[in-house]
């Protein structure tokens, strides 16, 4: 075992950290968040220019061949700055699906642009009642005109408002929750029949509902084999969960730092409130959750790109559980230890807290993870 970063990894971390620090003071974040795009186009372009959007892709796809650890380093820095750009959705999740399932032509035309940062992807899997179950797909794709006609509704597509292409799961055969019969399509959001209802999210990003009404897609827009997308969906969701864990660790680091500072500076009863033992212990509990989440983010990073097997699934499920719970604990306690200040919009800590709670509303919550882990519990 070796927990040290290589020289290149160290450099990557420094680059990401510097970039985030320069682009993301809290007041700027507020402006980006309130803008129509909902994030910073400049910062997104910088991620592309510096090659950060290309990191996880193989060299023949124009990438750097980075793995889970590289992704983890970038995600944690993006988290520390509470950044708004859909890096996770476009590069890790969408890019991952394309890299795994895409045809040569799709990789050449679409993935190359994703790696360069010139095309932003979104991934539309969730439906109004699917509640994180990837197999629960009611959106339909029927063969028509040499391609497919899509109908249905996709829920809360993060970054869907600004995406150049959206990867949509739809059913080509089978019943509502069957794993077989799910296909993936690359949908052009400007195509006839696509409607997007755009809204801000409670953690300051933007997303949309995606309504598909007889949307014609070509055969070339099918990703992978018809009806066979489930395994890739699961695998790539695992990568997304690993990346999300690292993101949450970045949020938690910053929020723990802010809280610790506050305990040292805020005075009540003539002493810094950090002198009260009950608050010391609470802060220790927060720090412990951060340590646990950090460990699980690392473990997840080292399994994210590994072969698909039961051990990988177990680790990623556990990461989702530990990190989501820890994230909420840190969020709630940080607010509590700040008193009234922690409840205010103008305090950046409150926004970290919201982002941390929302970790449990993307790619599953702690309960879905707990149930999944329990179901496959290994008994020696």
């Amino acid at each position: 075992m070796d927990f040290k970063l290589s020289e290149e990894q160290q450099m990557l971390q420094d680059t990401a950290a510097r970039q985030v620090r320069d682009a993301y003071p809290f007041e700027k974040r507020e402006q980006y968040s309130k803008s129509e795009l909902g994030f910073s186009q400049d910062f997104w372009n910088q991620l592309g220019e510096l090659g950060l959007t290309a990191v996880p892709f193989s060299e023949e796809l124009g990438g750097f061949g980075g793995g889970g650890v590289e992704t983890m380093l970038i995600m944690t820095e993006l988290g520390r700055g509470l950044t708004l750009e859909p890096y996770l959705q476009s590069v890790i999740h969408g890019g991952g699906l394309l890299a795994q399932l895409g045809s040569d032509a799709q990789k050449e035309n679409v993935l190359a642009e994703v790696a360069a940062g010139s095309l932003q992807l979104a991934v539309a899997l969730e439906e109004p009642t699917s509640l994180y179950n990837l197999a629960d797909v009611s959106t339909t794709a029927k063969a028509a005109n040499g391609g497919y006609l899509l109908n249905g509704r996709k829920a809360v597509v993060i970054g869907g408002h600004s995406a150049g292409k959206i990867i949509v799961s739809a059913r080509t055969s089978g019943g509502q929750c069957d794993e077989a019969g799910i296909s993936l399509f690359l949908v052009d959001p400007s195509a006839a029949g696509v409607k997007r209802r755009v809204f801000p999210t409670i953690d300051g990003r933007k997303a949309c509902e995606l309504l598909l009404d007889n949307v014609q897609v070509a055969l070339d827009d099918l990703l992978g084999e018809e009806g066979e997308a489930f395994a890739a969906l699961r695998y790539q969701q695992g990568r997304a969960i690993a990346a999300q864990a690292a993101l949450a660790v970045g949020y938690m680091q910053e929020l723990c730092n802010l809280t610790l500072d506050y305990l040292k500076t805020r005075k009540q009863f003539g002493v810094p409130i950090g002198k009260f033992q009950v608050l010391q212990h609470r802060m220790v509990d927060m720090q412990t959750e951060l340590e646990q989440a950090t460990s699980m983010a690392m473990l997840a990073a080292c399994h994210a790109d590994a072969e698909d097997n039961a051990e990988r699934t177990r680790v990623l499920t556990a990461a989702k559980y530990i990190v989501t719970r820890g994230a909420r604990f840190v969020a709630e306690q940080a607010i509590q230890l700040h008193g009234g200040i922690g409840m205010t919009w103008e305090y950046n800590g409150a926004h970290y807290a919201k982002a941390l709670v929302m970790i449990g509303h993307e790619f599953g919550d702690e309960d879905t993870a707990l149930k999944a882990y329990a179901k496959d519990l290994e008994v020696a």
């Binding site: 969730e126 109004p128 009642t129 699917s130 509640l131 994180y132 179950n133 629960d136 829920a155 809360v156 993060i158 509502q176 929750c177 209802r197 809204f199 801000p200 999210t201 409670i202 953690d203 997303a207 509902e209 005075k267 009540q268 009863f269 003539g270 009260f276 009950v278 608050l279 709630e332 607010i335 509590q336 008193g339 009234g340 922690g342 409840m343 205010t344 919009w345 103008e346 305090y347 409150a350 926004h351 807290a353 919201k354 709670v357 929302m358 449990g360 509303h361 993307e362 919550d365 309960d367 707990l370 149930k371």
Partner: protein, 398 residues
Amino acid sequence: MNVNYTAEELAFRDEVRAFLSAELPTDIAQKVKLGKHLSKEDHQRWQKILSKRGWYAPGWPVEFGGTTWGPVEKHIFDEECAAFGAPRSIPFGVNMVAPVIIKFGTEAQKAHYLPRILDGTDWWCQGYSEPGAGSDLASLKTRAVRDGDHYIVNGQKTWTTLGQHADWIFCLVRTDPEAQQQRGISFLLIDMKTPGITVRPIITLDGDHEVNEVFFQDVKVPVENLVGEENKGWTCAKYLLTHERTGLAGIGASKAALAGLKRAATRLQSGGKPLLDDPLLRLQIAEVEMQLMAIEMSTLRILAAAKEGGVPGAESSILKVKGTEIRQAITNLRRKIIGPYALPFLEEELELDYDGDKLHEDATPGVAPIYFNMRKLSIFGGSNEIQKNIVAKMILEL
């Protein structure tokens, strides 16, 4: 010992229910149930209806327009109001400043202020906290200096709930800076329209405007607005806080929230089945329901003991801590069950008169904002840490 409601208590409950079905405006109840923002006018409309029935100020002595209800009747009333979706009375006038005026005020103060609270003429807000004085309230610095028939007030209050709508503010101010902290404080009633008062909004993390900063610059307050004796304001403050805490357990509100949670978990589906079929969710709801059952009994028990021996003491701190934890646990589950729909932040759908398309029929837009907003329960009214300090000291004598 008999923990069942008596025949009279049951009859009373029927009476309350009949009143609520007949008189509670459906549009207001609807807003409450959906977690929408209520307007001042909504509150006033409901207040008028309650006042007419003589039920707006159940805790006051009858001579001032109150009732003869005991703790059980009050509990029944609160619970039924919450179940029907009646707005919670804004406590600052009726449940905070009024008991202080009744206990410590002059006859003139009683005659002037109480009827105006009862009929909704005056809205009150609470000016206790300051930027430097939260948990350590007695370190407050807002200064009041006697100048003939007036006090001249300078300083700042903060976290003032509904200050933007209030006609009056009751303040703790420092009248003797030399005295030991608690001794130099006075309880002053200040007209919000007095020159020199500025109110600035504080937006909370859920995007709402319910708290404010209130600044005082050379504000002239007539001496007759002092309640109780000069420099004895801390006695009023403490008296008020015990009253506040008992109400903060919020059993009725938690019951209504739990019922809403169960309804939503029955209505919302996943994989073609109601969410409530999920064993893990059922365990979680069962757990919080049992906790609520216990805190309800604890509340009634502690209030009944107080009835014989006076106001509840430090025990009310136990009710506040546990009651707020339960309420927060319910809002947490409510947030979890809407899945990804906790993310959309649909401020316009929360507005009073929104009648556009809804993003989702069932995923109420107020759910996640309420979860975040309810974090305040363990901070205000004396934070839960402070409440535990009180229990440790006063009850356990540690």
